[in-house]
């Protein structure tokens, strides 16, 4: 860190290699539809390097970088103004089968269908506002605790809980709209 602050290129390279998996994982989870993950990773690293002098060391470096990454992704998602409505006709055959299976019987889906379920959830989440999408992805898809979400986003616990509650309610509404199209 110290050497990178002094503009040592080898140190900057080492820092990049150390932080790349963390940044890439977060970017991939919260990527806007029309943005290249590489471009977003590059933007994140430029922000990290430009603000190295501001890193106080009061929080772990990984948390600080996570917050920069998440905020960059949120900004990119916010810039993407159109949030297309998901229609039943937009789903693939496998995805419609997954939704029918989910509605029909309680219990877990076949593991082979988990990927299709993920695709549907990502499409449903794409209809939500960026912070709502982020909080649901972290809590429900990545299985993170509220404390972890707090570390990653910098939001306080009541904000996280309220956002998660509202996001969940909106997601359910979109899901119900989608399912009502099926019955038509």
């Amino acid at each position: 860190m110290v050497r990178a602050r002094q503009r040592d290129e080898d140190a900057a390279r080492a820092l990049f290699l150390h932080l790349y998996p963390l940044v890439a994982r977060l970017v991939r989870s919260h990527l806007p539809r029309r943005t290249s993950p590489e471009d977003l990773v590059q933007t994140v690293f430029m922000k990290v390097f430009a603000n190295l002098d501001r890193f106080s060391g009061t929080v772990p470096l990984e948390h600080w970088v996570s917050r920069i990454t998440v905020n960059t992704c949120l900004n990119a998602l916010a810039a993407e103004k159109a949030r297309p409505e998901l229609r039943w006709a937009d789903l693939s055959e496998e995805q419609t089968e997954v939704l029918e299976a989910v509605m029909a019987a309680p219990g877990d889906l076949e593991p082979a269908r988990n990927l299709a379920a993920r695709e549907i959830v990502e499409k449903l989440l794409a209809q939500l506002a960026p912070p709502e999408r982020l909080v649901l992805t972290l809590l429900h898809l990545e299985g993170r605790s509220v404390a972890e979400v707090q570390q990653i986003t910098g939001w306080n616990v009541p904000v996280i809980k309220v956002r998660a509650f509202r996001a969940r309610r909106r997601l359910r509404k979109h899901y119900e709209n989608l399912m009502s199209e099926k019955s038509l």
């Binding site: 994982r25 991939r28 590059q42 390097f49 990927l115």
Partner: protein
């Protein structure tokens, strides 16, 4: 009912395998470091701009402080008193 099925959908989605994050793509590291280098070179004018801006703010602050100080002490102007005395003496010499 819809909440339960939505939860099942979310649970299934959470179990979906994720692509492992491997090494950075070819060229990304070079791109990032090149941009960092360019930004570093652009830093000098930026530093100068920041310095000049701060110097201007400091100068304005000093100006305002001195103006405020002079307004709070209006009666103690030795130059004014001397001028009044001289004016009085001139008047007296012209019209005794």
């Amino acid at each position: 009912m819809s909440d339960e099925s939505l939860q099942r959908l979310l649970d299934a989605a959470a179990k979906a395998p994720r692509k492992a994050v491997g090494a950075s793509p070819l060229g990304l590291e070079t791109r990032v470091l090149a941009e960092w280098r360019t930004a570093r070179e652009d830093d000098a004018p930026a530093f100068l701009f920041v310095f000049l801006r701060r110097a201007m703010i400091a100068a304005c602050f000093v100006f305002l402080l001195s103006a405020a100080w002079s307004f709070t002490r209006p009666g103690v102007s030795p130059t004014g008193e001397e001028a009044a005395l001289l004016d009085y003496q001139i008047q007296m010499s012209l019209n005794p």
